[in-house]
Amino acid sequence: MSTERITGAEAVIKCLLEEGADLIYGYPGGAIMPIYDELYKYQDKLQHVLTRHEQGATHSAQGFARATGKVGVAMATSGPGATNLITGIADAQIDSTPMVCITGQVARHLLGSDAFQETDIVGISTPVTKWNYQITSADEIPEVMAKAFYIARSGRPGPVLIDITKNAQMEELDFSYEKCKGVRSYKPVPKIEPAKVQAAADVINAAKKPMIVFGQGIILGEAEAELKAFIEKADIPSAWTIMGLSALETKHPLNVGMVGMHGNYGPNLLTNECDVLIALGMRFDDRVTGNLATYAKQAKVVHFEIDPAEIDKNVKTDVAVLGNVKDTLAQILPLINKNDHAVWREEFKKKDAIEFDKVIKEDLHPTKEGMTMAEVLEQINVASNDDAVIVSDVGQHQMFACRYAKFSQTKSNITSGGLGTMGFALPAAIGAKMGVPNREVVAIIGDGGYQMTIQELGTIFQTKVPVKIVVLNNEFLGMVRQWQQLFFDKRYASTEMINPDFITIAKGYHIPANRVTKREDLAGAVQEMMDSKEAYFLEVCIEKENNVFPMIPTGASVSDMRLS
């Protein structure tokens, strides 16, 4: 293989290009300046987006990764630059998002000397990375970078952090690049056991009342077509976790909605009535299961999963089918009997009718004067023809977005599911829009989370990325306020927000902005936003004390879902 003599900094850029990472997010600083100097030289080949905070860089990289399925890349300097990445890294870890973070580090001879902007970022990031490594010599760069991308994207994806000392960036090396094909201690995809696939098929074929809960594994494994073929042949009502949303189009007749704390009434209650529960690429998060002691105890549980550590972690499994769900679903399909569960499907419809009557009707067609979050989502559905990428933040608006946004294609719901990171949506929407520029990307954000990363309006202004930003303003940290109302006798401790003039702020960044305070203006305002060819900010003033229902209170059973 031919080699060339280049600096470590240039080698980093070449590695990124070799891995197809031609769009990265970051923020410069002392210890990473040699790499930024090379970014300047390579700017026609590799676009670097200057975010306004390193946390924004990670969330943008995550948004990019979630919308495209590619590895997102974020870059920061040592010390505070590196520590500011941690929230995004932790978010990517728990939501299995492929991301490579590159941090500068003080020169090798200064390590451990408490040098300026020195921090032990490898130590700090260890619990929240899939893998991390400190490069202290330039000749390590090609192999380590190749390994970083391989580990980030293979198996169950996750974040990888590579810390590069300044001397390694400045030294020269003989550069050649070879993509990583494997790591001997790491088996990203377990071998499929045909006997398990058969055992799963036997259980599923014998089921009278089967139910599926699918998660992000379907999206990460690109198994959407396999999922559809499987559920249609076996005729199984299919619910999704928040991370699985959009893997199956909303209007599919077997799509029965969301499980979990603020999910739909039917799939939650019927989790405790089904005879076989089939979990596909999901991990039985506590927000999904409620009280484990009363979760699906009557059902046989079949778990399709790529990560062996998830089997029996929270819910005991009767049959575990390890492997990439795309492959295991393809293998089980011929073993599955064509079936008709019409009577069982009716049960979901009956529960849907109850939920519509008690919750959805008032959410979508309120009799009260104040606007609801659901109405806004419904207008976005109309204006986008159910085909926008919806990037939500964390809180009430997130639950409304997941409950009411409609989807026609996969990788369209981007939200911080596991970590629940407020401030995620605005920067994530930037990454998503840059990743899928031909799609409409709408960020749905509460007034609280918006102000956690509001500085990224600067990134939007500078890059002209045409994201649509909707702030649902109820002048409260609404989800916490809802809990205070329900469980803390309405003691609204530190949840009321006295907000600035968001329109003036958007205008300060030269972003067209509009505020809606009356229902009759809503449809027109949403349409105007969607018609805009550039970035647009829309604030909708929402009824202050609206709640998200249905709800499974913490620690309660999925059977005890409250409708009010």
């Binding site: 490898v122 260890t126 893998w131």
Partner: protein, 171 residues
Amino acid sequence: MEERKFTISVYSENHLGLLNRISGIFLKRHINIESLTVSESEIEDVSRFIIVVRTSEEYVKKIVGQIEKQVEVIKAYFHTNDETIYRESALFKIASDLLFDERQIQNIIKESNAEIVTVARDFFVLSKSGRRSEIQGLYDKLKPFGIMQFVRSGRISVSKEAMNISELLKY
């Protein structure tokens, strides 16, 4: 769920930071590590961790799953005491005059199968390996005479079942 002592055995790459990553798995779950030993294994460049914890079987299974998931871990196992051969080692530093003045100490040393590693003018050093109870027994017998320093290693163990690590490394 009944708590018992388990020996977790980890084969891994010998990489900087892995100890931190593995100990973090216990920290995150609020599990106290009773002892931890890291050394080379029978395979070149492969490290072996022996970690002793007291927990339930259900929990140790989950911990081993989380350990095995780490990129640089080749394989992790857990065993009960009955499934392993295990030892600990201890060193006792004792004033030399006791060796000559207290005849009883010589008998204790003889009976304990301990080895005298060195004898200096002021002190001598005893080495004893065996099960925890045997080391503790020797400690209890020597304590009344005065022990200048005492240190005990973590558990080292080998399993009765075969561990086909070399097989796993072929890919």
